[in-house]
Symmetry: C2
Subunit: 383 residues, 2 copies
């Protein structure tokens, strides 16, 4: 059974949207249906999967039947899925399994998060932390501190400097300038990153992704050519897990779930990292993008930073990574994040990415992970 993406839609991500969350959901639902090349009717949607992290970021629960009711009820089924920052990737994983098993023909995925629903970053962090291990929550470790442990261990082991991590931030902000959907369109230099305040040493403000409001939607089909002459086919979707607590791992510098998901996705698609033309990866913090390079087999351990330093993963490089601007510049509205990553690859492979179009992109990859890598989904797409 071939499964393809037949439509994608996203709101411009914003640091603080004036929109009501239910209006955001309706807007992407209507948008993604309208964007299907040959049209689709609401009753053709068999399944709705909602991706949302916390009801504290929007004030909605039991959201799937709201969307289904808005589509006209029909006989569509639905539910919400949550796996922290990889809720969107998990929705993709479920949709893909449902479609390739023939259980359904068309799946609508709606991802959203309105993080500004809580008034302060302190309160926002208190919710985010709940995606960690209970013992980490107990001692009050926000994710920036956990990634800081990872970054410190990585820097110490491989002789990498803070300036090296900064290169990721500079690259992704540069990319975000070309993306009208990005929440922060601001060019920054290594010096800017180095001057930004420490949040948790060695990670600084500009090493960190954005607290963002956003929503995005996809339609996947097991009869993609019925709906468009240019579907983006799903070659593989793999999900793997690691121990949630950083303290539970024997190597702080690895993200094993990413490694296993990447290996399975490449094996399943019959491809290697060299076949990938464009990637969206989970740069929640700069260190994460570097380690993801290594876990996906783009670089040897400790050498990930070479890829950005040598221009391999910059916009004009061999494998541009995060042409959208990534979580760092486009933003990270949690439930929408993985959905928006797939949307970006859909546009890239259809040649619809305008100023940020990677030339001749035929094969794309999405890597979306949650917590400090307790869950990772890697998906490979082709024209």
């Amino acid at each position: 059974m071939e499964v393809g993406v037949i439509s994608a839609y996203s709101l411009k991500y914003e640091l603080r949207t004036p929109k009501e969350v239910w209006d955001m959901i309706k807007e992407v639902t209507e948008g993604v249906i309208r964007k299907v090349d040959k049209g689709i009717s609401e009753e053709e949607i068999d399944l709705v999967i909602v991706s949302n992290f916390s009801d504290r970021f929007g004030g909605l629960l039991h959201t799937a039947p709201l969307v289904i009711s808005h589509l006209g009820l029909n006989s569509t089924k639905g539910f919400r899925v949550e796996n922290a920052c990889v809720s969107g990737g998990t929705a993709l994983y479920l949709a893909w399994n449902f479609l390739k098993s023939g259980l359904v023909r068309n799946v609508l995925i709606v991802g959203f998060e309105k993080m500004s629903y809580l008034p302060s970053s302190m309160e926002i962090n208190e919710v985010l932390m709940l995606a960690g291990h209970p013992d980490e929550v107990l001692v009050g470790s926000p994710f920036v501190s956990l990634y800081a442990l990872i970054a410190a261990a990585y820097m110490s082991k491989y002789g990498v400097k803070e300036e090296d991590l900064a290169l990721i931030a500079v690259k992704n902000h540069e990319n975000g300038l070309r993306n009208p959907l990005a929440a922060m369109q601001k060019k920054i230099s290594v010096e800017d990153v180095m001057k930004s305040p420490y949040i948790s040493w060695p990670l600084k403000l500009y090493d960190s992704s954005l607290i963002t409001d956003g929503a995005a939607a996809l339609i996947l089909s097991s009869e993609p050519r019925k709906y468009t002459d240019a579907p983006v086919m799903i070659r593989a979707v793999a999900m793997h897990h690691d121990h949630p607590g950083v303290f539970q791992r024997d190597d702080l510098t690895a993200l094993r779930a990413v490694k296993k998901a990447g290996e399975e996705a490449f094996r399943s698609a019959g491809l290697t990292p060299k076949d990938i033309d464009v990637m969206e990866v989970h740069d929640a913090f700069t260190i994460a993008e570097i380690i993801v390079y290594e876990m996906l087999g783009l670089a040897n351990r400790g050498r990930g930073v070479d890829l950005v330093r040598n221009g391999v993963t910059t916009f004009n490089g061999e494998i541009p990574v995060n042409p959208s601007g990534g979580l760092k510049s486009k933003g990270h509205p949690i439930g929408a994040t993985g959905v928006g990553m797939v949307a970006e690859i859909y546009w890239q492979l259809r040649g619809e990415a305008d100023q940020r179009q990677v030339p001749d992109a035929e094969v794309g990859l999405v890597e979306n992970h949650g917590g400090t890598g307790a869950t990772s989904v890697v998906a490979i797409f082709g024209r």
Copy 2:
């Protein structure tokens, strides 16, 4: 592909548990694995589905990888699902689809909710309300008010009295007396119900289910006889939806999602209501159980109350409903509720329900719904 339940485990539900929520989850996870007749090893669990309503009822997110890590990591996959009070039923629906498609062989479902995590019933209600339509949330309608509208419309249309609704509460409290897992073991009379304070006319305190802490777990398998000589087979699982807002419906006295799910489940199993020996249904409020009788075809419209008045659905009747005590007496720890209902039917069909055993129970039914019926799952089980 035949799919069966091969193990069930539940904590005693409590109005306020002293246990940490992570300890509750570990306890049911270990318990349900230990209870498999012929044993199962952790690495045989292919998929973990967590059912939990809100992180405000326990302070955990990204819970599936915690459970998977506790099982030893292996290659198990997992995610959390949420569909309000039918999160457990939705987990069953997903597990059943994954199993019958051959995608996985063994699925662990873990449902939990620690509602006492929030200090006041006012705050608890503010979270529960989010499962309604945003316009209902906007005007501040808690579920008891929405069900009160339904109850008032039903009473007016069919000439039913508050004393009639009370019969459901009396029956389910009577049943709960025999269930050591029930949160409230207290015999009540119609007079007690009538004397209890109005929460939202015509619904009183004793018409309402309990705010409860609890956790329950199931293991489902597509090779059930490998693990037990007495599996409880799943004959059908159906999920349907209705418009979430009570104001959106043309008949306040119907629960259309329940009706459609029931019809599909009976058709799919090749059975009729007369074939059912025991049922667990979603008595969030007394009026709900009466309407569910009618939606499932046990009684004509407006005549549901006759079933309890004439003893048909009481413990010694032809079709005992809620022998566990139901949400009314056993309790309603949201994410655990649907999981616990299936556990009760598993024990009933295996003849392991001790003092509350329904004699010769061979076919059982679970009806679990969410919101004011925006989502309903109906499942039928057989020996």
